[in-house]
């Protein structure tokens, strides 16, 4: 999934396509983060602990792949943000945590920040390719 296909990276294929893919990876990493945060709290047998461990591994792995080209400060902020907002939404929906207007406001602020970062981020090129 994460392996680099050499031909894909040539010339004008670079840019928009890679960028979209890298952001998608950050979002999926965020989803896995929700998985293990919920898992650490609610895992109750071997099966759920194994799933939690897989989620930790996957979120880390995707984060590493995404930061090959995206700046690490930006990526980590977005990753943390998705994980936090997602966990809050998940706990409201599944575990009956109280719904507060302030939570909605903060999630909207977070979305604004994420979309803002997406629009201004310029990717660096891979090491070695333009050396």
């Amino acid at each position: 999934m994460s392996d680099i296909v050499p031909g894909f990276y040539l010339d004008n294929y670079r840019g928009a396509n890679n960028m979209k893919r890298d952001w998608n990876l950050v979002f999926i990493a965020g989803l896995f983060e929700i998985g293990w945060v919920v898992g650490l709290k609610h895992a109750y047998n071997i099966g759920t602990w194994v799933l939690t461990a897989i989620a930790i591994y996957m979120s880390m792995h995707l984060l590493i792949v995404a930061t090959k080209r995206l700046p690490v400060g930006t990526t980590y902020a977005v990753f943390t943000g998705i994980g936090t907002a997602g966990t809050v939404i998940f706990e409201i929906a599944v575990f009956g945590e109280p719904f507060k207007l302030m939570k909605v406001f903060l999630i909207l602020l977070l979305l604004y920040g994420v979309i803002g970062l997406k629009t201004i981020t310029i990717e660096t090129t891979d090491e070695g390719e333009n050396a």
């Binding site: 590493i64 690490v72 930006t74 943000g81 602020l109 977070l110 994420v114």
Partner: protein
């Protein structure tokens, strides 16, 4: 003392993020040690801190240190952009993540 543990946990997270970049540059044992060592340190000290500090407060401070720390490491160690809009958007996410953890 719990607050010192919490700060160590936050710093551990930033070390882990440093490790992420390290792994991208060189896939060797020491890079993975920085990555796993950082996050492990972070989790261990976070759970020790949580014995005294309420969970929501501890989580919020931990997230805050991690996000700010990674942004600063990005800017001053890896030469990432110091554009004011980037700082503004990261601050928005920071404020929101810390807020959500405090009220949850």
């Amino acid at each position: 003392m719990a607050w010192i543990y919490l700060i160590i946990a936050g710093v551990g997270e930033v070390v882990g993020v440093l490790g992420i970049n390290q792994v991208n540059q060189k896939k060797n044992t020491s890079s993975f040690l920085v990555l796993f060592g950082g996050f492990l340190l972070s989790f261990v000290f976070l759970s020790i801190a949580m014995e005294t500090i309420p969970m929501s407060t501890a989580y919020a401070v931990w997230t805050g240190i991690g996000t700010v720390g990674s942004a600063l490491v990005g800017m001053f160690v890896f030469g990432e952009s110091k554009n004011w809009r980037r700082i503004l958007f990261i601050s928005m996410i920071l404020l929101s993540a810390v807020g959500l953890k405090l009220i949850s």
